[in-house]
């Protein structure tokens, strides 16, 4: 079994997550041969005849796209590893600005650079937008998570290497959360840092924008258990993925409205910074953007003006 890991525009966290198999790593490399992974080894090009290629990161520039196409051709099975590869991830937030503005900010506008700073051109050019891996090539498996969590990888990687199939949880973060729904009165939306939430009750019910109900689980609801609202880093929950008319923003509005008896229009008015609080991990995904009720198109339009 020949395995490869390719990294596109991301943070290498997904590769580190694979190293976080810790001792199990030795068992995996006893069963399978890692033939290409630039972060940990010197092979410069993915060889032919790869059985499983894990691709992490989003596609942001020409070089990313070429590498993705190459590894797709050379691999029998391609796994989009992590939320960037699956839905664009945090890198997708760059969709909020035009490339020109992005470059101008970095090389000319931040305080430590001069207004006439050089904007690099002798470098791989940017694509006009960010893409998730599945927007451009056929993906065989999606493994979400920013990065995918250790316990989850410990389940799936040995199974993949052995060629086994697995029954996996399809539940949302809420179903892994230990909080109970207390009384919900005079609900108003709080910023995530306001006040100190009580540890027993649902954060959403307390007014915090917790995305647990619209987010795929498999992280053991880590954040709510640490007394912070879910930010949606595992990507959209299965019901949102399945139904073309369901979207993160729309589902949150509906859920809060049911919870609080506030009309949906009123709920929507309380939201702020929808791009960074609701679509932080999915904005660079055509699959999410193409949903009928998605707010992504508006956000991109509004901000890139």
């Amino acid at each position: 079994m020949k395995i490869a890991i390719e990294e596109l525009a991301g943070c290498s966290g997904c590769t580190i997550a694979v190293l976080d198999l810790h001792e199990m790593l030795l068992d995996v490399v006893a069963e399978a041969e890692i033939v290409y992974s630039p972060v940990i080894m010197d092979v410069k090009e993915p060889p032919e005849g790869i059985d499983i290629a894990f691709v992490t990161g989003a596609v942001r520039n020409e070089e990313n796209r070429e590498r993705l196409e190459k590894i797709r051709k050379r691999a029998k099975t391609l796994v989009a590893l992590g939320t960037c590869a699956c839905y664009g991830g945090i890198s997708g937030l760059s969709m909020l600005n035009s490339n020109v503005d992005l470059f101008s900010c970095v090389y000319r506008e931040v305080e430590t650079v001069k207004p006439d700073g050089v904007i690099p051109t002798d470098v791989p050019p940017f694509l006009y937008r960010a893409f998730a891996v599945g927007d451009l090539v056929k993906v065989d498996y999606y493994v979400t998570g920013c990065p995918p969590k250790e316990a989850f990888l410990k389940k799936i990687i040995p199974a993949m290497v052995a060629g086994d199939t697995l029954e996996l949880s399809r539940k949302s973060v809420c179903s892994e959360c230990d909080r109970i729904m207390g009384p919900v009165e005079n609900w108003t939306l709080k910023r995530r840092h306001e006040g100190v939430p009580d540890r027993e009750h649902c954060l959403l019910g307390q007014g915090y924008l917790c995305l647990g109900s619209v987010t795929f689980g498999r992280c053991a609801a880590t954040c709510p258990k640490n007394n912070i609202p879910c930010h949606g880093c595992n990507g959209p929950s299965l019901d949102i993925l399945r139904e073309p008319c369901r979207d993160i923003h729309g589902m949150m509005v509906r859920r809060i409205s049911d919870l609080t008896d506030k009309p949906q229009k009123e709920v929507e008015k309380e939201f702020y910074d929808v791009a960074h609080t609701m679509y932080a991990f999915t904005i660079g995904s055509l699959i999410m953007e193409d949903k009928e009720t998605s707010k992504i198109r508006d956000l991109v339009k509004e901000r890139s003006k």
Binding site: E7, A9, C11, S12, G13, T15, D20, H22, E23, L26, V35, P38, V39, I40, M41, D42, V43, K44, R60, N61, E63, G89, I90, S91, L93, S94, L96, N97, D101, L102, C105, V106, Y107, V110, E111, T112, V113, K114, G117, V118, P120, T121, V123, P124, F126, P147, E150, R191, R192, H193, V196, C223, N226, I228, H231, D273, H276, T277, A280, R303
Partner: protein, 455 residues
């Protein structure tokens, strides 16, 4: 013009390249370190609520996410005008310690050591941690064990081993439980044991290696708490290229001392002192700056190191030893903090109200060097301006010059063998560049080596 490309540079975090220009006699005319990606955090954070910064910016880097998390959290404290309670501060320091343990162990044992232990003539396919595991399974197992401790510590304190989320304006969101503390304390003792045993290996690693290679002369920047080694609290001291103290900064005044510029051929910016002197950050810089490490075994190692390299060294390969000494210091500090009875106290968070200051600058030491997060917000706490200065950008010049120095030594008859290319990469690896961090600005940097013959 002849062009040879080797890409990407491997066993570094992210994508980057090297370009070597040859004259018509096949000699090196010039060479550059090139970074080919960018992601754009400085721009796309504008418009975000400031409290999101500690959750978004860890995604700049999956290897040192805690440093970004903490730099952003420190900036939010200033913006809301609060100080975390004592335990909150200790937990944050512990989080950074976990980061250093994992990152330094990863770099030393898994990314850099194969060059020294397996050697350049080892085939490229096995000159890596897997090859190391075959040849020296004991080293590999120990490396896995200490890195695991670092990640477990980060997870227990920060909520997750990668992209921790528990630091927030005013402190931390969850206390460390007694059960976890006890479990981690046992692991910390074991990790310190491994770190101490490994000193023999580390100390001898550079024996017979020419430490003049990759030569460059620069100043240094690194944090210290009154002369003592510190990664979370203190001010950043600046040394000039002659070793003399230039000054220090701990907040917005960094802009009086540091400037950045860009070149056409790299997405990665270059940082230098205003006035033109270059400087470096990271283990070498920090050890040049501090008077002592403040822990027993690291101080003993520092004394040996100084016997060999003096009190201020410019040698790029000394980074490896300096990094190892920091690794020992981090394990010792973990043991100390985990046996502090205050560490499990429930008082970890100071509640915050409205925006008090429109600007917050968070500075911490990341494993690769001084990290600066600078945010300006409006009255509602929405980010209006953001500047992020990462270690790799501050070491960019030194890597760039080191690459040229090495290229001159190893390019023969206008050609570069695989082993020679690896020697060039070794110089880059000494800095443990984090290309993801470096390219926070828009993508990631593929490190490429290309030779261009000028006719």
């Amino acid at each position: 013009m002849k062009e040879i490309t080797i890409s990407p540079v491997t066993r570094i975090e992210g994508h980057a390249g090297v370009r070597i220009f040859l004259n018509d006699r096949g000699e090196v005319d010039s060479a550059h370190f090139q970074v080919v990606e960018l992601r754009g955090f400085e721009k796309f954070l504008i418009g975000a609520a400031i409290e999101e910064a500690p959750r978004i910016t860890p995604r700049i880097c999956g290897i040192c996410p805690s440093a970004h998390h903490l730099a952003a959290a420190k900036a939010t404290d200033q913006i809301f005008g609060v100080e975390p309670p004592a335990t909150g501060k200790k937990l944050r320091e512990l989080l950074n310690v976990g980061q250093f343990v994992h990152s330094h162990a990863l770099h030393f044992f898994m990314l850099a050591a194969p060059d020294f232990i397996l050697g350049h003539d080892c085939p490229a396919e096995s000159r890596n941690v897997i090859g190391l595991a075959r040849q020296s399974p004991e080293i590999a197992k120990k490396a896995i064990a200490v890195r695991k401790f670092g990640q477990r510590l980060t997870e227990a304190v920060g909520g997750k081993p990668i992209h921790p989320a528990n630091a927030l304006p005013g402190g931390m969101s969850a206390p460390l439980t007694e059960g976890k503390r006890a479990e981690l304390a046992v692991m910390a003792d074991e990790a310190l044991g491994i770190a101490r045993e490994g000193w023999d290996l580390a100390r001898n690693l550079l024996d017979g290696v020419d430490t003049e290679i990759g030569a460059v002369r620069t100043g240094f920047v690194g944090m210290t708490n009154q002369g003592v080694y510190s990664t979370y609290d203190g001010s950043a001291a600046m040394l000039g290229p002659d070793g003399g103290r230039v000054g220090s900064f701990s907040g917005p005044e960094y802009t009086n001392f540091i400037e950045e510029y860009s070149e056409d051929w790299s997405y990665l910016k270059f940082a230098r002192f205003k006035g033109g002197d270059y400087y470096r950050v990271g283990p070498l810089a920090r050890l040049n700056i501090v008077e002592k490490m403040g822990t027993e075994h690291a101080d003993a190692a520092l004394a040996e190191y100084r016997e060999r390299f003096g009190t201020g060294t410019q040698a790029a390969l000394a980074y490896h030893l300096a990094r190892y000494i920091e690794f020992i210091a981090s394990c010792e500090r973990a043991v100390q903090l985990l046996s502090d009875p205050g560490i499990t106290a429930p008082d970890i968070r100071t509640p915050v109200g409205a925006v008090v200051n429109r600007r917050g600058v968070g500075i911490v030491e990341a494993p690769r060097g001084t990290l600066i997060h600078d945010y300006t917000v409006n009255e509602a706490g929405i980010i209006e301006r953001c500047n992020l200065i990462v270690a790799t950008c501050q070491n960019n010049y030194a890597m760039d010059r080191g690459v040229e120095d090495m290229a001159r030594r190893v390019v023969e008859n206008g050609a570069l063998t695989e082993a020679a290319a690896n020697r060039i990469e070794m110089i880059i690896r000494a800095y443990d560049p984090c290309i993801s961090c470096a390219t926070h600005a828009i993508g990631k940097m593929p490190l490429k080596i290309e030779c261009v013959r000028r006719t």
